[in-house]
Subunit: 527 residues, 2 copies
């Protein structure tokens, strides 16, 4: 049996807090000691990735204390409970089953009379069949022409994850001759978002994927109408151009407005839904179902590693626990995600949602306020771009920001030039290696303005190349990391009540049922 | 004479610190009191914009203390010194003159024997002439065809600002029939960045703008070679397709490799360079010189407002001082920038550089360590997208993050639909109004998981529409805000020594002159 306790009630946490500021990172990472750490503080992830934490402020003693905390907090047991179908999302009284989209770690999970793994796999097959027919020209527009473009209409988890994954593999797919359709995304209720996307495509050759689990998301329904309007104005029948990804109980489920409908359920939260039809429909249409299956395979590999009870062999648990040390012992409020890969340009925005929406909570699973910081603020941009931007603060600012680097030995496209005896890819990799050491070790200079204190912690995930598999592994690694941290903080990482109040007030504004400050702001904005 | 003192030595700062947690924002913003605040706590900016700070944690007493601090810190006098040409960038012994690109606030500034305003205006005219000739088909490719695409090759300030401005006006320009050429950007040394852009354009009809003040930026020179290689492989003469924006003393200045060269100088820092040829060349080519001139006019209007010694009539100074209160009295480490405008999707990334690279410093102007936090961490995404992502943490997380909203009454494209009795634009505006009040006032619920504590401060900049003028005003507002905050912190906001160490170490990696941790990381990354 697992028991759910606040972090500050755990004995091992009290012991951990005594290890604050224990590691002098400048010393630890300088000289042969540093080389030894890089070799030792490394753990394999899935798809050939490696998580290296040599430049984190930990040593064997801190790691031991973190492992003790992971054990006392029963992280492995809680994960086991989750994948075996316990009601982990207590607020909404729901199971948490996104992992079942990519594998079966425990016993079959039956809910609502259905084997859930079968259900998710069945939907994947439906999507694959549909995508194959579109690619083969068996499903076409009314004029019998093949569809060339797929447009996702969704917001939040129906946008950020799928978009980040599409951008991550777009160039890879071109090089590997598997870009079947170009993908576009409409998310914002700002009418200029939909208008600009519609102006950039041939609507007569486009399929629109309407994604809303509840079928009631205001932005998404509004943008659906926006698109239908445009289709009708172009003399087209919207029902021949739209498919829905939704739950079986939603108003969109059995509607003749759609060419097809693919289902998910309440056990897959929006920010965890890239593995379901939410990511599956657009990515299968864009890249082909095989590529989407390879993403899922990479994710499944990572899920299996997360089962390991030995923290040092469980990269997601280890990453999570080091994050706990940074947040609750060292007191750092932020984490920056810095992929040295232009293809991952929107991956930080996905992780920002995943992490901040999951763990930006201040009450525990029983609704009681917690007395410690929970989820950090996540931001990031690709390197080397960030080096010429906000890295100044990261190196010499008054606050310390832990860093998560990601780097690959090889580019995706493979076109490259040798300038000053090195390729661009080598320069890219040299920069990320250099940054880790610069942040950790710093450098004294007699001009204090040119001096670097160092002691700024980072970790790096290294891979051969960003492929569907390694991308899937990255995706699942962070999902599992966030889950483990939520367990440690004793919060529910799977609801998002914090988004509700704004929705309620916005409706009131639109109904002109306002007073006080809200009325004046509404007037100022001409609503 | 101005005198430069650390913030914690100022009498008025000590008085300000006694006002910590003075304002109960829930009470202040509820009922008619709230309506009164929205009406009163508002100051006009340039181009018809308004800065409203009703939902900040200030009252008349706090504002009085902030005004006293602004006076004791001699903000107005320091700005005057800056625009009159004093050496404000003491680290690099340079004047700070980006404002001169858009107006002349003080007496003529003569440096290196040149009237600097004349010099900048002269370069603008050269750029305008060049752009007009390209648009008129007087400057063409070797086959006599008109150029259709312009590609910026630059990184950091040569990328983020110009890119954010281009994206901000791309749809506006289409609607107003002033999109002369499509713009693209190559920045990252990741070879996939350049390769993907080159694959997406017709290089034979493209002009490349090489932007590097020093002419030595590794990424930019590498990408230049990458592009030259592609041009040559396409049988084209690179010198007919490339122009340079650089300083007169750089190796690029008088080279026959370029169709033309336009000049800036050491008195304009990268992150402040959008008003110079760095933004001017690409934006004049993309939108026409008139549109670029309108951006500058909007910025100039804002610069004039920043001269006002009365803080309450000086939006940039007021915004800066409220930020000081939040950072140094309330102790908030971050600020989120949340534009309710898809066109401003990359504006937060520009502000992230502007702010974090300028004020992420821990030594004062004399090189002595400061004992207080300086520049905050800046991040942000457009609303309403962010509402379905990281807003959960902003509403219910354990940390408070001050918010900077931006909203416009009208969209740019004007295409819209009425759903449930309101347009998309009205929904967009209703959401931003609702969010301000939700963050400030919160809402009690007997289910603590659905309870909102409120007390989360925000301000909003409201305008009619995002136009060249209002965009220029926004740009200058934040430049001036960051400058004023740097003055208060007594730091040099105009150098960036923190980016140097990484460059040095990366060169060492590429030369294989490494040992210890750096060598092992280099091996792991196959360099």
């Amino acid at each position: 049996m697992v028991s759910w306790n606040n972090l500050d009630t755990l004995t091992s946490f009290k012991e951990l807090t005594e290890l604050k500021d224990r590691v002098n990172l400048v010393e630890a990472m300088t000289g042969e000691n540093g080389a030894d750490r890089v070799n030792r503080y490394s753990v394999p992830m899935g798809s050939g990735l490696v998580y290296n934490y040599a430049a984190k402020q930990v040593d064997d003693k801190v790691l031991e204390a973190l492992a003790a905390l992971a054990e006392e907090a029963q992280l492995a047991e809680k994960y086991e409970a989750l994948y075996n179908g316990e009601v982990i999302n207590t607020g909404e009284k729901r199971l948490v089953l996104h992992q079942l989209c990519r594998g079966q770690l425990g016993s079959p999970v039956v809910a609502d009379g259905v084997d859930k793994r079968d259900f998710y796999v069945g939907e994947q097959k439906k999507i694959a069949d549909f995508a194959n027919k579109v690619h083969a020209g068996e499903i076409t527009n009314a004029a019998g022409e093949k569809f060339t473009t797929v447009v996702q209409i969704g917001i939040g988890g129906s946008d950020l994850g799928p978009r980040a994954l599409y951008i991550a593999l777009e160039n890879w797919a071109k090089v590997n001759n598997t870009l079947k359709m170009e993908a576009k995304f409409i998310s914002n209720v700002d009418p200029d978002d939909a208008a600009a996307v519609l102006n950039s495509i041939d609507v007569s050759r486009s399929i629109f994927v309407l994604v809303s689990k509840s079928g009631t998301t205001l932005e998404t329904l509004t943008n659906e109408s926006f698109v239908k309007d445009a289709l009708q104005k172009a003399g087209l029948d919207p029902s021949r151009h739209m498919i829905a990804v939704t739950s079986e109980t939603s108003p969109l489920a059995k509607s003749s407005d759609y060419l097809a409908a693919f289902f998910m359920d309440d056990y897959i939260g929006g920010r965890y839904s890239s593995s379901s039809g939410v990511g599956g429909a657009i990515l299968s249409l864009a890249f082909g179902p095989d590529v989407f299956a390879r993403i899922l395979a990479g994710a499944a590999e990572e899920d299996k590693l997360a089962v390991n009870k030995d923290m040092l062999k469980n990269p997601a648990m280890l990453d999570a626990m080091i994050g706990i040390y940074e947040r609750n012992v060292q007191g750092y409020p932020c984490t920056a995600v810095l992929p040295y890969s232009q293809a991952l340009s929107r991956f930080p925005a996905h992780l920002q949602q995943l992490d901040m929406e999951s763990n930006g909570k201040s009450v525990n699973r029983y609704g009681e306020p917690v007395n410690y910081p929970t989820g950090p603020i996540i931001f990031g941009e690709p390197g080397t771009n960030g080096q010429h931007s906000f890295y100044q603060l990261l190196h010499q600012g008054t606050d310390i920001v832990p860093l998560q680097f990601i780097g690959f030995r090889n580019s995706q496209i493979g076109t490259d030039v040798v300038i000053q005896d090195s390729t661009s890819q080598q320069k890219l990799c040299a920069n990320v290696a250099a940054q880790i050491v610069a942040f950790a070790c710093g450098k004294k200079d007699e001009n204090s303005n040119k001096s670097f204190a160092g002691g700024r912690p980072s970790s790096i995930i290294i891979g051969d190349q960003l492929t569907p598999e390694s991308l899937g592994s990255l995706l699942a690694h962070f999902e599992n990391k966030v889950m483990f941290q939520g367990f440690v903080w004793n919060i529910n990482s799977f609801d998002q009540e914090g988004v509700q109040l704004g929705k309620v007030l916005a409706k009131r504004v639109l109904a002109h049922e306002t007073d006080g400050a809200l009325k004046v702001f509404s007037d100022l904005l001409n609503i």
